[in-house]
């Protein structure tokens, strides 16, 4: 017969009790941990909010100070707004404004001393309509040479002689259209 060597000093009941005590202790530790974590998170969040709030207030103060400063220069700002508004308006006005400078300069070339004008029209687009007379063929040739020169310059889309005639007096009647 073999002799039992293991000696059980605690009973089954006290073992369960020990495990229960361990579980109880662990659950308390867990609760303390969760509470600490919550408290820490709350603290961090509150500190962050405090800092951000302070920064927001400082920014708000800074903005209101800047706005007060800007209001002091309201007159300068309104002048600048007027300037910008007028520059835009005047630029677009000058872009579309009819200019007769070119037509006048061309007219000066066409009106040679030998050409006697009778009618003259300057269109708003700078086109020209001229009628007149030349005393002789030499004057007519000089007139035509000037017109050809203008046609070659390419400033006019069409250069038309609607009529050229010889008068009883020996002169030549001419009508000319320079269209843009």
């Amino acid at each position: 017969m073999q002799v039992k060597t293991e000696i059980n000093l605690t009973g089954e009941a006290s073992k369960e009790d020990l495990l229960f005590q361990q579980f109880k202790r662990k659950s308390r530790h867990f609760a303390v941990f969760v509470l600490s974590l919550f408290a820490l998170a709350s603290f961090v969040v509150l500190v962050a909010l405090f800092i951000l709030n302070r920064q927001m207030n400082a920014n708000e103060n800074n903005i209101s100070l800047l706005k007060t400063g800007i209001k002091k220069y309201e007159k300068r700002e309104s002048s600048l707004v007027i300037i910008a508004n007028r520059i835009d308006a005047i630029s677009s006005l000058l872009k579309t404004r009819t200019s007769y400078t070119k037509a006048i300069a061309d007219l000066r070339l066409i009106l040679t001393p030998d050409f006697i004008p009778q009618t003259l029209e300057i269109g708003s687009d700078g086109s020209l309509k001229i009628s007149g007379s030349c005393p002789d063929s030499r004057a007519l040739a000089a007139f035509d040479k000037t017109v050809e020169q203008l046609a070659q310059d390419g400033d006019y889309a069409k250069v038309i002689y609607p009529s050229v005639g010889r008068q009883e007096s020996g002169g030549y009647s001419v009508s000319l259209e320079l269209k843009k």
């Binding site: 229960f20 109880k24 308390r28 609760a31 509470l35 919550f38 998170a41 709350s42 969040v45 962050a48 909010l49 951000l52 709030n53 927001m56 920014n59 800074n62 903005i63 800047l66 706005k67 400063g69 800007i70 220069y73 309201e74 007159k75 700002e77 309104s78 002048s79 600048l80 707004v81 007027i82 300037i83 910008a84 508004n85 007028r86 520059i87 308006a89 005047i90 630029s91 006005l93 000058l94 404004r97 009819t98 200019s99 007769y100 400078t101 006048i104 007219l107 000066r108 009106l111 040679t112 001393p113 030998d114 050409f115 006697i116 004008p117 009618t119 003259l120 029209e121 300057i122 708003s124």
Partner: protein, 244 residues
């Protein structure tokens, strides 16, 4: 295990249960809303910093501007394109340009319309400008007429010779001394002032280099200011000092 022992066992877990319940309850009510607030506040701060930068830039720009120069430039530009219709000014200016160029203003015809209100109220058309037309009957030599047109294109307020109609062209001794008669249609422009100077946090309008060169060009234009009364002795107002 009897009822008492179960109850006493539960009693030992009151604290952990209370803590878990507390955390579960406070997290959605307190902590999570506060956490959500952080990015919102950061966004606001970023926007504030952006606004602050814009405002400080605007302030430094405004500080660097020369008020006298601004006043002169805006006066020049308002002279070039006035806000109000001024029929009398246009007429006197036209007469002056004609006489300065040796041309003769025979008659004029105009329909100024509303002149006492701001031009913005008078116009309802697509054009941002409110033109006032003046039909002038003239006689001039060719050279003078040519100079007249150049003068009108280089005069403040800005005017436009819209149409030219020659009723008579007669040559004298030479074609360069043509005598011209006819009518010109003169347009003078007005535009309303901007209604507001914009929001305080809106950036200042930038004047481009083309805008600056336009202003410089306008400075070279002929300016006909109404002649002020000739200065003589200052008028004494009130009683004269008996003990000088």
């Amino acid at each position: 295990m009897n009822k008492d022992s179960i109850f006493s066992s539960l009693k030992d877990f009151y604290f952990p249960i209370f803590v878990v319940l507390l955390v579960l309850l406070l997290s959605p009510v307190f902590l999570i809303p506060k956490i959500k607030k952080i990015p919102e506040m950061r966004k606001t701060i970023v926007a504030q910093e952006k606004e602050s930068n814009q405002l400080s830039q605007k302030l430094s720009d405004l500080e660097s501007l020369d008020e006298a120069e601004l006043f002169n430039t805006s006066s020049l530009l308002l002279e070039a394109l006035p806000a109000q219709k001024d029929f009398y000014q246009v007429l006197t200016l036209s007469k002056k340009v004609f006489s300065d160029n040796g041309s003769f203003l025979k008659s004029f015809d105009s329909s100024p319309g509303k002149v006492s209100t701001e031009s913005a109220e008078a116009k309802k058309e697509d054009s941002p400008f409110s033109p006032m037309q003046l039909k002038i009957s003239f006689s001039a030599s060719y050279d003078n007429f040519s100079n007249l047109l150049i003068s009108f294109s280089k005069t403040l307020p800005i005017m436009e010779v819209d149409a030219i109609d020659f009723s008579s062209v007669s040559a004298t001794s030479s074609a360069n001394f043509l005598d011209l008669e006819g009518t010109i249609n003169l347009k003078s422009y007005f535009a309303p002032l901007p209604k507001t100077i914009g929001r305080i946090d809106s950036p200042l309008p930038k004047i481009s280099s083309q805008g600056k060169s336009l202003t410089e060009e306008l400075e070279t234009y002929q300016r006909y200011k109404e002649e002020t009364a000739a200065g003589g002795e200052p008028m004494i107002v009130g009683k004269e000092n008996p003990f000088p």
